[in-house]
């Protein structure tokens, strides 16, 4: 599964949700399962769309740099075999159809009318070469692990590819999308460019609606449309993406008229962007999960009472209502967002199911009692780092530190580069960390698998959890799988308390008035999104 960094490396993957708010704002349909070709914009032409992207990019190939924004940019150029949708299903991309003859085999029919932007037609051999490239640690360090269950990919017909797995994995289809780990390029191009892919001198080549004409790391990307795209001719002719490391500079650029679309508006930034004349922010709800993770192998967090004390010291509801005033953030009742369970339940049904999980309700007196029952009745000193691209996490850290101080715990909070945050999280030396992750594929166990599966950041292992994970990985019934994932959540956030969910936040995009997108949900920007953008009247 991919992951995100807002600035440079980042918070990752995202969640879905067909958003009523989005549809209302855009006056557009919220039919998120519409095929890509049906997503085509109906408005007027746009000569050049200027896009502001947060952070900076060093390499365009998501296999080398899997920041969320990189996924969004590359989705305009390269495609996978399938695209995720906001209702938990997959729609055709470069595979027109697929079948599963058995639990470890997928057979894909490859699109015959797709061409690369250099004019060469897509072949099954290109798909096989791209899968092998994506599974190589040398060429795709950031995403190769997602294809760890891949046994082989072979051409089984003129336009047919057969993929075999080492073991059943019900979510494997999601890995073959451009929202996870597959970006199809031509075999000869991959062979010619080797590990240089995505650099200014070896730009990515794909079958998507746009081709990259220029890439300057840390400055921007220039794209122009490819009128031969199988999905139709986009209304936007050219796209110029500029990377902004400084959010104030980005905002001033928008004020000065240099921005048509600003990607990824944080909840804390949303009020100022909404008040910016000529702009409006639209949100994909619950696209991002924020929580605390505990490492139960590190003192004093090896004691359940200490973990409960910390979890009960954070005022989730008031923080969401009074601090994250963006309007679309919600208290997280689980690590799995309701949108991830859309294959099994309605949005309301999934929300209700997850709300039934026992919660660690905010109460400083209860937190104090928990602490008193631990081996640290008088408190202790610990640290909590927050990544520099998530200012809202910094606010949460300050609030938590303030509350913990009242029960005797000294929490030293620091802003760190995202790489440091990541390194600390997986170092097994820190008992308390933030988790900030996005839903990208819509697979039901996307977040639960990451937070509780092998190599999880809590360094947590529990026989019951492992058994449930193994069962749900092979479970083909969506409802039964959802129930197993809810059970996993109960163990992680209640019984064992290695995860303390804080809130689900939206992924916001700021559009200049007069520019519209045909639909917007968590999955939109992982497919050729600019094909849905046009000038509105």
């Amino acid at each position: 599964m991919p992951s995100l960094f807002r600035s440079r490396p980042a918070v990752w993957r995202v969640a879905l949700v067909a958003s009523v708010a989005t549809a209302t704002l855009l006056g557009a349909s919220a039919q998120t399962s519409a095929a890509v070709s049906n997503r085509a914009a109906s408005g007027g032409q746009i000569a050049t769309l200027t896009v502001a992207a947060p952070g900076s990019r060093a390499n365009l190939y998501p296999g080398n740099e899997s920041g969320t924004v990189n996924y969004w940019i590359d989705a305009l150029v390269q495609e996978g075999l399938v695209h995720p949708t906001a209702n938990g299903t997959y729609q055709p991309a470069l595979a027109t159809s697929w079948s599963e003859p058995n639990a470890t085999t997928y057979v894909f029919q490859i699109r015959k009318n797709a061409r690369f932007s250099d004019g060469t037609p897509l072949t099954a051999a290109d798909v096989v070469a791209s899968i092998d490239y994506a599974a190589s640690a040398k060429y795709s360090a950031q995403t190769a692990s997602y294809l760890a269950d891949l046994a082989s990919a072979t051409q089984s017909g003129p336009y047919q590819v057969t993929v075999k797995l080492k073991a059943p994995q019900v979510s494997f289809l999601s890995e073959l999308s451009s929202s996870a780990a597959l970006w199809v390029s031509s075999k000869s191009f991959l062979q010619a460019h080797g590990s240089d892919l995505g650099t200014p001198t070896s730009l990515v080549l794909g079958t998507g609606p746009y081709k990259v004409t220029k890439f300057v790391p840390d400055e921007g990307v220039w794209l122009t449309r490819d009128s031969t795209w199988w999905g139709g001719v986009p209304k936007v002719k050219n796209i110029v993406v500029t990377f902004y490391n400084d959010e104030s500079a980005e905002y001033l650029a928008a004020k000065s008229g240099a921005v048509d679309l600003a990607l990824w508006i944080m909840p804390t930034q949303e009020p100022s962007w909404n008040s910016l004349s000529g702009f409006h922010v639209i949100n994909a709800l619950q696209a991002s999960y924020v929580g605390l993770i505990f490492d139960p192998n590190v003192k004093p967090f090896n004691e359940l009472a200490v973990r409960k004390a910390v979890a009960e010291a954070f005022p989730r509801q008031t923080f969401v209502n009074r601090v994250l005033r963006g309007g679309d953030s919600q208290v997280a009742t689980a690590i799995t967002a309701p949108v991830s369970l859309r294959a099994a339940y309605s949005q309301a049904g999934a929300t209700a199911k997850l709300a039934s999980i026992p919660q660690n309700t905010f109460s400083l007196s209860a937190a104090k009692k928990e602490l008193a029952s631990s081996s640290y009745p008088h408190g202790f000193t610990t640290t909590l780092d927050w990544p520099n691209n998530g200012p809202q996490l910094g606010l949460a850290a300050a609030v938590l530190a303030s509350n913990l101080k009242q029960i005797g715990i000294t929490l030293k909070v620091s802003e760190v580069p995202i790489e440091t945050w990541l390194g600390n999280m997986f170092s097994n030396k820190y008992g308390l960390n933030f988790m900030w992750d996005q839903v990208m594929t819509g697979d039901q166990s996307e977040l639960a698998g990451f937070l509780l599966g092998a190599g999880n950041p809590s360094d947590f292992s529990n026989a019951q959890v492992n058994s449930l994970l193994n069962t749900e990985y092979a479970q083909t019934n969506p409802q039964k799988r959802a129930q197993e994932i809810i059970e996993l959540n109960k163990l992680a956030t209640g019984t064992d308390l290695v995860d303390a969910p804080l809130w689900w936040e939206p992924i916001g995009m700021a559009f200049k008035d007069g520019i519209s997108i045909s639909s917007y949900d968590f999955a939109t920007f992982y497919s050729p999104w600019a094909a849905g953008i046009s000038a509105s009247s």
């Binding site: 991919p2 992951s3 960094f5 440079r8 490396p9 918070v11 990752w12 900076s56 060093a58 390499n59 190939y61 080398n64 899997s66 640690a137 040398k138 360090a141 950031q142 995403t143 190769a144 692990s145 760890a148 240089d196 892919l197 995505g198 650099t199 200014p200 001198t201 300057v216 790391p217 840390d218 400055e219 921007g220 500029t242 990377f243 902004y244 490391n245 400084d246 104030s248 500079a249 001033l252 650029a253 004020k255 000065s256 008229g257 240099a258 760190v416 580069p417 995202i418 790489e419 440091t420 990541l422 390194g423 600390n424 997986f426 170092s427 992750d437 990451f450 092998a454 190599g455 950041p457």
Partner: protein
């Protein structure tokens, strides 16, 4: 200033140079013959100082390379995590990456391999950008050099005259105004100055683009004007203050009083005083230029300029060994070169230094 200094100051530069060269050329043989330590020719002395300074710089760079290598290794973070992103790699992927980048070897071996490649002209490969360091450097050095050069030129061209004016009007309204403005410049952090300039000149006035490096000479200048001004405001304040101080000292010297009594024009007096004040100003300018090389990080970040400063920051955070090593050594070498040039410039400005060098 002393009488010796006065003599030096009033001696025609061309005549001094000719005299020095003549002594060096004709006197060397005769001094050697009588067993007295001979004076070196100016060329010999220059060659010697350049050789010694270069040798010293090489040793310094070697020490820096060891320190940077160790610090990058010891800094927080994990290179495998950085290479693989948020989601943990499988053991097989992690092992493959360690092999690919030589991270499974002892630290000393890693360093020696790097050193061996480096001295043979192979600067390594960026783990973050997936391109060679030489390509990465070539693609970015132009922006940074242009930014530093323009910022330095702006700072010197604006600050030296302001410092001179402030010195000549010492205590007056103009002096106080210039001093107050320079204090603001000294105090304002670069990112704040940058945002202020963006607000005024990119948003309110719309005179300059808000981001990017531009394409082509004039477009480049257009894009670099605000970031260069941001750099210049910060460092220019230092030059104003130092120029004012040095000029005040010179203008209060005996030789200026004597000259004034002889009826020498104020304009000419200012010029002569400025030349005598040039050594401390030049020293400061050299330090400022060295500082600018490393000060581009915030400015490049604010204005989305793809230069070396931003690259260095990101490479440090990523623990991208090869890039950090190369950039640190490059910056150190540039600073050493600037300092050497500043020292050599003393010889052009001061006959006294030329004499000292030959002893």
């Amino acid at each position: 200033m002393s009488a010796e200094a006065t003599t030096v100051a009033w001696a025609p530069a061309a005549a001094l140079s000719a005299s020095d060269s003549g002594k060096g050329a004709s006197g060397a043989g005769s001094v050697e013959e009588v067993g007295v330590p001979r004076k070196r020719s100016l060329a010999e002395a220059l060659a010697r100082i350049i050789l010694l300074r270069t040798a010293g710089s090489v040793v310094m760079l070697l020490v820096i390379s060891v320190l940077i290598f160790l610090l990058t290794y010891l800094s927080p973070g994990n290179i495998i995590t950085n290479l693989t992103g948020l989601h943990p790699p499988t053991p097989a992927v992690a092992a493959a990456l360690r092999r690919e980048y030589g991270l499974n070897q002892p630290l000393v071996v890693q360093y020696l391999h790097w050193l061996d490649r480096f001295v043979h002209g192979n600067w390594g490969r960026s783990m973050r950008d997936q391109t060679s360091v030489s390509q990465l450097f070539a693609g970015r050095v132009g922006v940074t050099l242009a930014l530093v050069g323009l910022g330095f030129a702006m700072a010197v061209l604006a600050s030296v005259p302001l410092g001179v004016i402030a010195a000549r009007r010492a205590g007056g309204m103009l002096d106080r105004t210039i001093s107050a403005v320079s204090v603001v410049g000294l105090s304002a952090p670069a990112f704040a100055t940058g945002l202020l300039l963006l607000y005024v000149f990119a948003y309110l006035v719309s005179a300059f683009p808000p981001a990017g490096a531009g394409q082509g000479l004039f477009d480049d200048l257009d894009h670099l004007a605000l970031p260069a001004a941001t750099l210049a405001i910060g460092v220019g304040a230092y030059i104003v203050r130092l120029t004012r101080t040095a000029m005040r000292r010179e203008l209060g010297s005996d030789y200026v009083v004597f000259a004034r009594a002889r009826g020498v024009s104020e304009r000419r007096l200012t010029f002569v005083a400025l030349r005598n004040a040039a050594i401390p100003v030049l020293t400061m300018a050299g330090l400022v230029l060295s500082y600018l090389v490393g000060a581009t990080i915030l400015v490049e970040s604010t204005f989305s300029l793809p230069g070396l400063g931003l690259l260095l920051q990101e490479s440090v955070e990523f623990k991208d060994f090869a890039v950090v090593q190369f950039l640190a050594l490059f910056i150190a070498a540039v600073i050493a070169a600037i300092m050497l040039l500043v020292d050599l410039s003393y010889l052009v400005l001061s006959p006294e230094w030329r004499q000292r060098l030959r002893r």
